[in-house]
Symmetry: C2
């Protein structure tokens, strides 16, 4: 037997390729819009804040499956650029609540346009109902605890 792969292993490669398809399509579009040079991770952090409202750095780290140290470093950039505001929690001085500034919301809207174009391009082969199914299956996977 020459090929030792089975179906499960192939799935991991499919997900990587899909992610790369998105990335290579999105990258040139996003670069033109990324006025503050916050990069892909910076953009994703803004999106999470837009999706979920004000939240802590730890919550963002969990959502994006990145280390809190990375979130912390990028977050200080986002605050320096005026895209994010920070409020130290009055009940727990260790914690801080992060929220999008008005400028941050505008940046999210700008990125969003590029994302929609990319999604249209990459997901072109699927029908609307297939996209629905696809998204639903991902949501089902992601909603489970780790």
């Amino acid at each position: 037997m020459d090929c030792v792969l089975d179906h499960d292993a192939t799935l991991a490669l499919q997900i990587d390729r899909l992610m790369r398809r998105f990335h290579t399509d999105l990258h040139p579009r996003a670069q033109k819009i990324d006025a503050e040079k916050i990069g892909p991770i910076g953009g994703m952090i803004l999106f999470v804040m837009s999706e979920q409202g004000p939240l802590t750095a730890q919550a963002i780290a969990d959502t994006l499956s990145r280390d809190k140290s990375q979130i912390s470093r990028v977050m200080s950039l986002l605050m320096r650029k005026g895209l994010v505001d920070r409020t130290t929690d009055r009940e727990d001085a260790r914690s801080a609540t992060l929220r999008l500034s008005e400028k941050g919301k505008m940046q999210v809207a700008a990125f969003n346009g590029a994302l929609v174009e990319t999604a249209k391009s990459v997901l072109g082969p699927l029908s609307a109902s297939e996209v629905q199914t696809f998204s639903g299956l991902m949501a089902k996977i992601l909603s489970s605890d780790r």
Copy 2:
């Protein structure tokens, strides 16, 4: 309106999160097995070669949506470690055919075990038929030309 996201944009985030779920689950498993320290990209290159048989560096670059320069650099490592053999094409001296060595095939098999465990863990919330559907939709997307 506070949230400027629509459905298409959320999809891109879902794919990133899914990829990261896989990565964070797989990383500790794979590290124990990665005897030659070839890293995630090295492993993926081996997998592509296992899936598709002998092929050129450019074909691997296209499949993985990575630049040929990156493939070239990692490939020289894989050859140095004895995981890949290289044959210069007799009809076109610019081109070379790359194929897994026996050692390379064994390494793929080892990684495959870890990948199957990770797939089981991450895709746990889905039924077998849902996994089938999910994989089929990804295949449909990826089979289209860029």
